[in-house]
């Protein structure tokens, strides 16, 4: 049953990729700037621009270009960056791990903080703890992220000197040998404890800032889901049986209530990936956000396509995983 479902979702993934690339092609064609002109650089002569247009196949009809792109895509070739001249796939390989590392850390912080907050808020609605956690949630969504990032950097680096300004490693250290691209994992693989600590310390500020709005969402979801569960019959039964409140909430209710926030994890990862830019800039993180920002600013279309595809891919895969996990936790769900 579940196998069939996974199969269906994989077909769906292909469908999404076709849709996303099609959408991007549409946007590319509606942008007034000439991609060949941009790719040739500002100093190029009209003749050089024409040569490049032919070389890149930009003189052919749009649908031919699209089909060519798709054909290359399924061979794993995403084209070359017009800015750096490197294959897009290489660019993605060098930028993605940093973002994934940041994203995973942010999600961990999110869950660790948001779930207790949400539970606390639901157990005693209207209580002070509820108000505080709801206010915190509203603030988490309301504070402009770039502003919080600057402020956090000012306090923890500029004034207190307890955390680094940003970057992924101290300037005096060299990165570990490249396996995964995540410095934390690579340092562990290399058995370099100092490097591991350093990489971890650099992760604290950006990941926490990045997690803030997600904490707000998760804790609110947790609260309402917990409220719903606490109103269910079996909780009432458990209570009437005289089980201690801690056990009722901690064991019976929490397990069921956590399902709703769980479904959102996949979505949240998508948002985090989409929002990396602002935080990465402040903390000089050098991830996908930088790549996307530069590509859009320099109208580097092959890279824009590549970044969008990767983000969609991560998004769809994660949601698939969440669905499977969901089915595993709650066997009532049929596909």
């Amino acid at each position: 049953m579940i196998l069939r479902y996974v199969l269906r979702r994989c077909i769906f993934l292909v469908f999404v990729i076709v849709g996303v690339t099609g959408l991007l092609f549409l946007i590319t064609y509606s942008i007034p700037a000439d991609p060949a002109r941009v790719a040739a650089g500002p100093g190029a002569t009209p003749k050089q621009v024409e040569n490049l247009r032919q070389k890149l196949g930009l003189d052919r009809p749009a649908y031919v270009q699209y089909l060519t792109y798709m054909k290359n895509l399924f061979r794993g070739d995403l084209g070359k960056s017009t800015r750096t001249k490197k294959p897009v796939i290489e660019e993605l390989k060098s930028y993605l791990p940093a973002s994934l590392e940041l994203m995973v850390a942010a999600m961990l912080i999110n869950v660790l903080i948001a779930v207790p907050f949400g539970v606390l808020s639901a157990v005693k609605p209207g209580h002070l703890a509820d108000s505080v956690s709801r206010l915190f949630a509203a603030l988490g969504m309301g504070l402009p992220l770039f502003w919080v990032a600057l402020l956090a950097q000012f306090i923890f680096y500029g004034k207190l000197h307890v955390l680094p300004f940003g970057g992924r490693l101290s300037t005096s250290l060299l990165p570990p040998a490249h396996f995964t691209g995540s410095f934390i994992i690579d340092a562990l693989l290399a058995g370099d404890w100092l490097l591991f600590k350093d990489a971890l310390v650099h992760l604290i500020l950006p990941a926490t800032v990045m997690a803030l709005p997600e904490i707000a969402v998760t804790s609110r979801l947790m609260r309402s889901s917990m409220l719903e569960v606490l109103g269910q019959d079996y909780i009432r039964t458990a209570r009437s049986k005289g089980l201690p409140e801690r056990l009722v909430v901690g064991k019976h209710a929490l397990r069921n209530a956590v399902l709703v926030p769980l479904t959102m994890v996949g979505m949240q990862v998508g948002w985090i990936l989409g929002n990396t830019l602002l935080v990465e800039t402040v903390f000089s993180w050098g991830g996908l956000g930088f790549l996307a920002f530069n590509a859009i600013y320099k109208l580097d279309f092959p890279v824009i396509m590549g970044v969008a595809l990767v983000m969609c891919f991560v998004f769809v895969i994660l949601n698939l995983l969440v669905d499977i996990l969901y089915a595993y936790i709650d066997p009532r769900i049929l596909y």
Binding site: V20, P125, S131, M141, G142, E228, V260, L273, G274, N275
Partner: protein
Amino acid sequence: MKRDNSKTTDVVRHSPPEATQSRGRMGDLLRRIRITLRFNRLGAVGLFLILCLILVAIFAPLIAPYDPSKLNIQERLQPPSIRHLFGTDAAGRDVFSRVVYGARISLRVAVVVVAIAASVGAAIGMTAALCGGLIDEALMRFTDIFLAFPPLILAMAVNAGLGPGIESAMLAVAVTWWTGYARMIRGQVMTTKNNLYVDGARAIGASRGRILVRHILPNCIGPTTVEVTLDAGAVVLTVAGLSFIGLGVQPPTPEWGAMVSEGHGYILTQWWWPTFPGLALCWMVVGLNLVGDFLRDLLDPRLQGRSG
């Protein structure tokens, strides 16, 4: 930041609209507001914040002591004082006046974007749910494509295509925003469609249109209102984010995000320039979120039961 709260906003599905019609509607509503406020005091705070903001936007010319875009070289980068409550920026403009006028822009952004997104989403979601079958499948997969598309990238690309400016920024954000509404309203209509009282209405021969208007639509209004309020804040932040990277409004428009962006290099020396617009943004988003929470509690029958 695109927020999809569809999983939690379908709480009113148990209460058919007829239930609230039985007694004096106004009185009932007031009673519910009173009860909800009793255990959600933050709701009152939110209502207050948003009410203030609306008043400020309406009476901006009366409140603002200066022309928001008038340069004044003698008064550059003045710290907050009686003359300039929030200080002045590098061009000598009064930050307080700019923040006050900014309320108009941000409110307009919130209303316009959410209105476009919600109506497009509602149309698609409702069509999908009512038609079902192949049309439903096609529309929802179409929605999924937009959902999977990284929102900031889509907004940036659309904005770059349309050229910088507040109108294109709003449109760009709306393009990425409707998916949440489409999914939510589809879900809402699906559940209502199969409810007993709708079956009943169908049995006594009510027309499709009548069922839609009298039974299905009213049930969507509650969750949509909550969603819209919660979303408005995120919309304002996203447009501010676009302005922050130079794609949103153009100078000298006093948009809060653009002001934070322009002033952020001054955070260490003239902190008031980026800080007050940032706080204003925060004011609005927090207010909208608290109001959204409040509305959700207001519409939640179980909470009413607990306290009433």
